[in-house]
């Protein structure tokens, strides 16, 4: 009921559709940034925190970039905002993958009694021969 009330207020107001879509993407970006930061604060493990920030925070910043694109249109800084969206979606998985590889090489353990699948005491990465030996047995 409250939602329909708010929606009727928003639809009856004097905003143009472009301005309303900019507002929608800003609210979406704030939601995703909040979720990502809560995950960064609350989750127990390096890998879990990386999972929270690398997806949610990137999606939030990308939707705020996209709201900038909707605000400026196909000119000038709007195209720069599109470049920013593309750049964020390209670089955030790369950076988070490199951090998690560095954490695994450093020997950061999982939370609880979870371990790497094979050779849980030596932090060597998995090689295919060990996997083949396990499957043959």
């Amino acid at each position: 009921m409250i939602n329909t009330h708010i929606l009727s207020i928003a639809l009856n107001s004097t905003h143009s559709p472009r301005s309303m879509s900019v507002m929608f993407f800003i609210i979406l970006g704030c939601f995703f940034l909040t979720v990502g930061t809560l995950g960064l604060l609350r989750l127990p493990d390096v890998y879990n925190r990386l999972h929270a920030t690398s997806k949610s925070t990137t999606l939030g910043a990308a939707s705020i970039f996209f709201s900038g694109f909707l605000h400026y249109g196909f000119q000038g800084m709007g195209l720069t905002s599109l470049v920013g969206v593309l750049f964020l979606f390209l670089t955030a998985p790369t950076g988070s993958h490199m951090i998690s590889r560095a954490a695994q090489k450093m020997g950061v353990e999982f939370f609880g009694d979870i371990a790497w699948p094979i050779h849980s005491d030596s932090q060597t990465p998995l090689n295919e021969d060990a996997i083949l030996d396990e499957t043959e047995i």
């Binding site: 928003a10 910043a61 490199m98």
Partner: protein
């Protein structure tokens, strides 16, 4: 009642919210138990400041803040790669 959805008010409240979130990311970067925790916190701070730059560009209609956000994203990516290389290889450029 239509003032509730004012554009400037929404942008200002979003800026305040993201600033508080950036402070919390700084908390994680300060107390993080391991070094990758701190790197993740600083990376999240960079992403939040990118969002703050875009919101400032829309709010103050000073368009070049979009470029500031893009350059901050690039610098955050490069610093993340450098920190990951420093953790795993003990050197930044080999």
């Amino acid at each position: 009642m239509a003032e509730l959805f004012s554009f400037t008010l929404l942008l200002t409240s979003a800026l305040i919210l993201i600033s508080i979130l950036t402070l919390f990311c700084g908390y994680r970067a300060f107390i993080g138990p391991t070094i990758p925790d701190r790197v993740i916190g600083i990376d999240a701070i960079g992403t939040n400041i990118t969002a703050i730059a875009i919101l400032l560009a829309i709010l103050t209609s000073f368009d070049y803040f979009v470029l500031v956000g893009l350059v901050l994203a690039i610098i955050g990516f490069i610093s993340t790669i450098a920190a990951a290389n420093y953790i795993s290889e003990s050197e930044v450029i080999q």
